[in-house]
Symmetry: C2
């Protein structure tokens, strides 16, 4: 047995017992230590770096670690074996990308404005914002020796009198505490009511003089990032917001690796635990704490997520999702309650899963399409959701067509050596001086925040600026020299954005040719998908009236730069609209509005799915798009003009 | 800190850490050690005996422990304090009375005959034995790239085709495993179906070629004893039977002490854990094991129990049940599923609680009344359930009146120094030779089984025989001398039934004047309740056509002897019928028959409850009945004749 000590930049070290030859990444997973492994440990992504502090590891060499770094002790955990007692440092850059949870009380701000605008748009599209929840004060006569009706019948009788309803039921949890609440409140209570079919359902009973809120949760479960908001179901007010990395990431960065892991013995439970106990419940707990709401006051949840994420959340066997003919277990399931999943909420809280339409277009897209309102316009709109998978919806009030492409996690900072989510310390925007090649950037967080890494919108800017300044060529290869330009022993170039001394990072923040190549593939996947889908309908991109860009890439996204690198089609910039996390705003509207819930099903049922992976054109288009901006420069006239001008 | 070692006649010792002065019974409870404490630790019952093996305890003296026993190391745990390291032995006699679980495969035998007869009687009373469960084989076409319907819709579509039903839902648990089952079975499955309102509900999906049973559980939760049977819902066959002591007994022998305990901090959880995790789940697990049925194949449960027991089972706040005006939280609750309680069964299995009609007449009585069929006869019947509480129902097809009296646990062997349940080693019948005063007895169990203690039917026989032989007088005082008759220092008499050398016990099996007094109070409570209820309706006992005796007292009950001691009215012996555990047989019929479920509600709604505790006559009647057979000998003419003859 060897003793492996994991140290962290912040936090208590963890000691683990390993057998000789044990894989370091697997050991870390067993001890629940967060080390990034987007490729799930096959050595290809280079993210699972650790630094030797004492002792030795039996590590393979890799292009991801330069000789200089290797000499400094850097190793990839996934290709390292334990050979004796050893101490390693797990860098925080990993956890910044992974798990840092952010919670905020919200009553204003940019994000709230997005939700407000979404509600406004949907109202104009004829969606009524009413739901089945209400709060009713019910006085009762206390029992006597001559009036010994049991408590549940007494309450139901009083409710029938107050509401005129015929069928009224109490949840089991209400029954458990009813006697005490009635007696503590002198038989004057407030009831939280909802409806199930023709039945009025009592979700909670509280003393009449207590301040009470009726709340629900809207949650977007992305493959990489999870976001949620706690919502007052009666007013629509957003009481708190939280986001965190999806705890499943240590089992793979993409849906395929997670499905494979879930099919291993105990895998479904492990992945469910990672999303529920390690991600959602801590987020819900923090939101409730910050807004002083007991978790038992959460009476309804709406979850928008891709097909794999909602299958894994529910613990549903999902192997067929990844194998031809790609069959999900469900598009929609009515039957799930919070207690089935062990989610922090009233046990009887119903979980609405935004409907999937196929194995690769899920509830995040139907919810996002709902909130984009493209289904209500005569003009033609393109909806682009930039997640770990990129999904597109094109159409108008007459038709909707969708497709999906595998972009990888680059838009959320994955697959990029200094990548991170758009949280504190992320470089979200960047310009580079063409002469001096010195960068200027905007960083997420408070004044004085030092840079930690690059989020998606920052990467677009950096690549676009490097290209505009002629520092990299159309293939993403460094072609100028300078102080900030480096080349490793293999001749691979990189650009230093921030030196370690100026950064909150254990090493210089730089973008490498490997990063740029990864990002070009991601943007190439998106652009070629757009091109194929639009042209297969005999449209060309100039006929698109609106482009709605959604996703966790960050509100800092510079559309001009995105066009410059050939990620989006070269259309008038005013056609672009960044609509934030449309999956979450869609979930929010479904939570609040019965009509929105009906509409999202209508959208799901009506949407056509176009399979790109079996489309013979797609690979050619993709290869052509893996270029800055594109091998067919004629598709990007304004970019060409700018580069020439 | 002191170290307390608990030793057992069988089993591994348990070491407990105690602070000086800590109460030994409370310490044992904290360590989950089963020590009987029917009086919940107030020193009155004398059951919580332990024997000092080394070290000392600070113990109060008590009449329950003779000087000789005290010198031998016997102490009562409830009045002993830890003062240093100590080793005590916890006698098995306690666990024989408490927790010994008995499981049997059943396909014939006396008990099965009782269930069969009950079903026959109910059928003759017009009750149809059909329920909503069925098993259906469903073939499906596997999905292809051109037919990508998700699995749940594919199954529902096939079921609609096979059944013609409109509304079909799958449970969440079915959805979780559906993809795997469909593919393991080449899309040929068997579905376990039930109905909820107008909806057909799929409770399980299994490969078509698998041998499958559709099962349910009928459970009787008594205050002292719990019994259950595993039933084939399609055929009615009883697959296994189990009984065990109610694990809650360490929190008090009667419902009042348990309610008090449940209202203490954490009490509801503790009592729920004792009945669910420590009693029911082990029983269910053993029944499933013995009949090779997975617990997930249990799709429905019917539980018959008194009002307090079903409140505590559900974790419902129940303090008002014991306090004027004695209000239960519910008579009936529709909302409970197995997963709400963590019971071993399909998560979605519905739990039917036989309806209560008041705080002191519960579902055990409505279920028992159902199975007795007294509601279907023109003749007048008296139904007597001898449990820890005694409950009576009197009436016919026109009316039903009920009352309850607190008999204590004597009928199940509690409150009797050598008492035990009617399991292996229990003396269930006894005769005594009038000349020699030597006893002869019948013991529950295999040939050669040595006696362990006395069960209810045995106690009736012993007291009746002692009285008939003139060994005790009408007050239960020993009035003859002999080898088997002893007197302690206080002059209190006892009769040795079996010497320790002939018994499977740590001491002689004897019945004391205290035991006899306890039993006389129990039988007095029953007889006076009968007398008051019948006479309040202007009946007299001779007008009763049938007396149905139910309860765990054992099938060995000798009605003649029960009349002899004045427990039952002096009517023709052929009017008596022992109907076994009618609460369990009632639960069994409710499980199998929708009409029986409707009928038990009808019975519950139509039954009148007569409160004895506020009846001014009751105390007088009770005092008069605490005599062998009764102070008014004229009520027992045949007994008088026998004693005189």
């Amino acid at each position: 047995m060897a003793k492996v000590t994991f140290q962290f930049e912040n936090g208590t070290p963890v000691e683990a017992a390993a057998v000789s030859g044990e894989n370091l990444l697997e050991l870390a997973r067993n001890y629940n230590i967060a080390i990034d492994a987007p490729c799930s440990g096959n050595g290809s992504c280079g993210k699972c770096r650790v630094k030797l502090l004492s002792g030795e590891l039996d590590s393979q060499k890799t292009l991801h670690i330069s000789q200089e770094e290797y000499d400094g002790g850097w190793r990839l955990a996934c290709i390292s074996k334990v050979v004796g007692d050893v101490t390693v440092m797990v860098p925080d850059i990993a956890s910044a990308y992974k798990n840092r949870m952010k919670v905020a009380d919200l009553s204003s701000g940019e994000e709230v404005a997005i939700f407000d605008r979404t509600v406004e748009d949907l109202k104009q599209a004829g969606i009524d914002f009413t739901n089945d929840f209400s709060l009713l004060t019910v006085p009762m006569d206390p029992p006597t020796l001559d009036d010994t009706m049991p408590d549940n019948e007494r309450l139901i009788w009083a409710l029938k009198r107050e509401t005129g309803e015929e069928e009224i039921v109490l949840t089991f949890q209400v029954l458990q505490n009813l006697a005490q609440v009635l007696r503590d409140s002198d038989f004057r209570v407030k009831c939280v009511l909802t409806r199930e079919g023709s039945t009025l359902k009592v979700m909670n009973v509280l003393p009449a003089d207590q301040d009470v809120k009726v709340t629900g949760l809207a949650i977007d479960i992305g493959t990489t990032t999870v976001s949620g908001i706690l919502v007052d179901l009666l007013t629509g007010e957003i009481l708190a917001k939280a986001s965190a990395g999806n705890g499943q990431i240590r089992y793979g960065a993409d849906v395929i690796n997670r499905i494979i892991e879930s099919a291993r013995p105990g895998g479904r439970k492990r992945l469910q635990k990672a999303i529920i106990e390690e991600t959602l419940n801590p987020m819900i707990g923090e939101m409730c704490k910050s807004s002083k709401i007991p978790v038992s006051w959460i009476y309804r949840l709406c979850i928008a997520s891709n097909t794999t994420m909602n299958h894994l959340l529910l613990g549903v066997y999902s192997d067929p999702v990844r194998m031809e003919p790609y069959i999900p277990s469900f598009f929609y399931s009515h039957a799930v309650k919070a207690s089935d999943l062990g989610l922090f909420a009233a046990a009887d809280a119903k979980i609405i899963i935004a409907p999937n339409i196929g194995s690769y277009v899920g509830g995040d897209i139907t919810a996002g399409t709902l909130s984009s309102c493209i289904w209500n316009k005569e003009e033609f709109s393109l909806f682009i959701d930039l997640g770990t998978n990129g999904e597109l919806v094109f159409g108008n009030s007459d038709f909707l067509m969708s497709c999906a492409c595998s972009a990888g996690p680059a838009f959320e900072g994955g697959d990029i050596s200094c990548g991170m989510r758009a949280t504190d310390g992320a470089i979200e925007a960047c310009t580079i001086d063409k002469e001096t090649m010195e960068p200027t950037f905007r960083i997420v967080g408070d004044e004085g925040q030092k840079p930690v890494g690059l989020c998606g919108s920052g990467i677009i800017d950096v690549i676009s600026e490097l290209f505009r300044c002629g520092i990299i060529n159309a293939k993403g290869i460094f072609v100028r020299e300078g102080e900030r330009i480096r080349h490793n022993v293999h001749g691979m170039g990189s650009y230093v954005l921030a030196y370690q001394k100026d950064a909150a990072s254990v090493k210089d923040i730089e973008i490498t040719e490997v990063d740029i190549d990864n990002f070009i593939r991601a943007k190439g996947a998106i652009f070629s998908a757009i091109n194929i889908m639009v042209s297969s309908l005999d449209f060309d991109v100039s006929m698109i009236d609106h482009i709605y860009v959604a996703g966790g890439i960050g509100s800092g996204i510079n559309m001009k730069n995105a066009v410059m690198i050939g990620m989006f089609p070269d259309v008038e910039l005013e056609k672009f609209h960044y609509i934030g996390n449309s999956s979450l705003s869609g979930a929010y509207t479904i939570l609040l509005s019965n009509q929105a819930e009906e509409k999202v099903h209508e959208i799901g049922t009506g949407m056509t799915y176009m399979e790109l992976s079996t489309n013979p054109q797609y690979m050619d288009e993709f290869v052509a798009a893996c270029f800055l901006p594109h091998t067919n420069a004629g598709l990007f006239p304004t970019v060409q003009a700018e580069l020439e001008g």
